[in-house]
């Protein structure tokens, strides 16, 4: 029983990491209707910039701030160069543009900082919590809990931003209806730049967390693929969906890996999350918290 709890808890915490990446997707999809495939490479870019600055002996907060500024610049540039000329194109065109963007971002980050893997340390050891393992014999990593706390704070900050500020109101208006928002005088292009910059910030947080866990290397771009089933499970438009979806995917994936994996030869984590999400979609095509679409002829 304790083993089962340990597996589920480990899965839930891994799910938090997926949710961190999925959040970036949701932000951009909500506000601009773009499915941003480049989120993974933004995570990579942010983490690589951050770790390279730190390795050059920069103070951690300074490196963080400079990376943040870089991500904002990237977000604004993407809005200006890629999205603005592509307004009103069908979603598949925008998706393709972001796949093109993936190549550009990966190329630029490796050109700037080289392609060798880096280790990243934040001073929080990735070891089991002592009192938990002594009391109940359950091993839960300290770092996982830290990541969960960071994710919680991030969601709280985003919720505050969306619900309580002027910018947040504008963001929600744009998400609801582009044209109506434009009609009441909300500057669409500023809003998009802000959203992409925010997504860049989320990418930075996700990049640092994943970097500590797996090292900062090219494989980091693949975490985006891990976040996709989370997205379709939770719904593209919902921040809450990203979190809940992440938890469900993380837990079910771990449980399946431990209990089902050995029966079929292991390695099922590459597709299991997708199958869970797919089966779920058959019941609820718009995801857990996605908006229901009504088709009119």
């Amino acid at each position: 029983m304790t083993f089962f709890i340990e597996v589920v808890a480990g899965g839930l915490l891994a799910g938090v990491m997926y949710a961190l990446v999925a959040l970036g997707f949701v932000l951009i999809y909500k506000a601009s209707g773009v499915f941003n495939f480049a989120q993974g490479s933004m995570v990579f870019f942010a983490a690589l910039t951050f770790v390279s600055l730190m390795e050059r002996g920069w103070n951690i907060w300074l490196a963080l701030a400079v990376t943040m500024v870089a991500m904002i610049l990237v977000g604004v540039a993407i809005e200006r160069v890629v999205l603005r000329p592509l307004v009103n194109q069908p979603p598949i065109t925008l998706l393709m543009a972001t796949i093109g963007l993936t190549f550009v971002l990966e190329g630029i980050s490796q050109l700037m900082w080289g392609s060798q893997p880096h280790g990243l340390e934040l001073g929080i050891p990735d070891v089991p919590m002592e009192w938990l393992s002594e009391r109940w014999n359950i091993n839960i990593s300290q770092f996982d809990l830290f990541a969960a706390a960071v994710a919680g704070i991030l969601v709280a900050v985003l919720a505050l931003l969306f619900q309580k500020t002027r910018i947040g109101r504008a963001l929600r208006a744009v998400a609801d209806d582009h044209q109506a928002a434009l009609a009441v005088g909300i500057p669409l292009q500023h809003i998009w730049a802000i959203v992409w910059a925010t997504a860049g910030f989320v990418a930075l947080v996700a990049g640092v967390m994943w970097g500590v866990r797996n090292g900062v290397q090219y494989a980091l771009t693949f975490v985006a693929l891990k976040a996709l089933p989370v997205l379709i499970l939770g719904g593209f438009e919902s921040i809450l969906g990203a979190i809940v979806g992440g938890l469900i995917i993380g837990a079910s994936e771990k449980v399946a890996e431990v209990y089902v994996g050995p029966m079929v030869g292991g390695g099922i984590e590459s597709w299991f999350a997708y199958v869970v999400a797919l089966l779920f979609l058959l019941v609820r095509p718009e995801g857990l918290f996605g908006e229901k679409h009504i088709d009119r002829v």
Binding site: G100, F103, L111, Y274, L278
Partner: protein, 358 residues
């Protein structure tokens, strides 16, 4: 001046509905086929035939398959490479386990197996659409590659899942040289492209396009949604499966499952976007662009190196190539979202009026 339809009257229904209504187009097409079937194998050297033209043809076929699904039936798919993998591995098994099977029949078996899997993974399209469906097709991509790696029977229990294509022969002629492999590929591709062109002009093709343009309206006017969508998935997967078999037998020779990763799916998707979504010609133009472009880039970078007298490291070159490639795709989407096929169409319209545009 030369490209005019003046004086070409259509007096029968057959003439009215032919694929190339203009005499000039027909002449050009026959000339192109003659060049492809006779001149290219005579003139082309080993490298060009086996490393550039054959993969171009194979990937055109895969792009054609994806175009049927995405361009004509409007169902976005990211699982192309998985269907190609099924085609390759099942064709290998067909040759291995059925003695004396003709090689074309083995390709067809590969295609049919891919079509069967395509049917299964097409089922979600009945409930979900758009981007959700695209992500769902990723499940197919990952699951199929995992299964091929895990099920030893598929690769005849080779240790790393690598298969080596058996030698091929048609009516006793061994297909071993690059020219022979090229001709076999060309024959299959031309045949299947013609079939696709005609299929898209038929009732089935029009049903696909109706579903693409608005599925609710299509079902209201009596197009069976389930049959149409699943048929689109099956036909598209069949094309991709045959393309995969050709990829293994005529291009690579020795194939590992990792040849069919998500990257390949994306490349095929790029082909139809750059070539033109919903256009047979576009599949070929896009495949040509994506196959030739990296070669131009590497030639270009060598040229710049000698011109400037500097030595660029391999990493710098490959990263710069990635940046240029990505920017070019974005540029293409911004400048001509309808792709190269649209440019070709515009050029033809201009040509009709040339040199007196008014």
């Amino acid at each position: 001046m030369l490209y005019r339809e003046a004086g070409q009257f259509k007096s029968t229904y057959a003439q009215d509905s032919q694929i190339f209504p203009l005499l000039q187009d027909r002449v050009a097409m026959v000339a192109l086929l003659l060049v492809a079937f006779i001149v290219v194998p005579l003139v082309g050297d080993q490298y060009w035939l086996s490393a550039i033209i054959t993969p171009f043809l194979v990937l055109s076929l895969a792009a054609l398959g994806l175009n049927i699904l995405t361009g004509y039936a409007g169902q976005l798919s990211l699982g192309t490479a998985a269907f190609m993998a099924i085609g390759a591995f099942m064709a290998y098994n067909a040759v291995l386990r059925i003695p004396g099977i003709p090689i074309l029949a083995a390709f067809a078996i590969g295609g049919l197996c891919a079509a069967a899997v395509g049917l299964v993974f097409g089922l979600p399209s009945l409930r979900i659409k758009g981007l959700y469906l695209a992500v769902a097709t990723l499940a197919c991509q990952f699951f199929v590659l995992w299964a091929i790696n895990r099920i030893g029977w598929l690769s005849n229990h080779s240790s790393s899942g690598v298969i080596t294509a058996q030698s091929m022969a048609i009516f006793g002629f061994a297909i071993a040289t690059p020219a022979a492999k090229y001709l076999l590929t060309l024959f299959v591709v031309v045949f299947m492209a013609l079939a696709a062109k005609n299929l898209m002009r038929s009732e089935t093709g029009r049903a696909f396009m109706a579903v693409r343009d608005m599925d609710v309206a299509a079902s209201v006017i009596g197009i069976p949604m389930m049959k149409t969508k699943l048929l689109a998935f099956a036909i598209s997967s069949f094309y991709c499966g045959v393309a995969g078999a050709l990829y293994a037998y005529c291009y690579l020779g020795t194939v590992e499952p990792e040849a069919f990763t998500l990257d390949l799916s994306f490349r095929v998707l790029f082909m139809i976007i750059i070539g033109g979504v919903g256009s047979i010609l576009g599949s070929f133009l896009g495949a040509a662009f994506i196959t030739l472009f990296p070669i131009f880039l590497s030639v270009g970078s060598k040229w710049i190196e000698t011109l400037l007298g500097i030595e660029m490291s391999h990493a710098v070159v490959s990263n710069t190539e990635a940046i240029i490639f990505g920017s070019l795709i974005i540029l293409f989407l911004i400048v001509e979202p309808l792709g190269l096929a649209r440019l070709w169409q515009v050029a033809k319209e201009k040509l009709r009026l040339w040199p007196f545009p008014h």
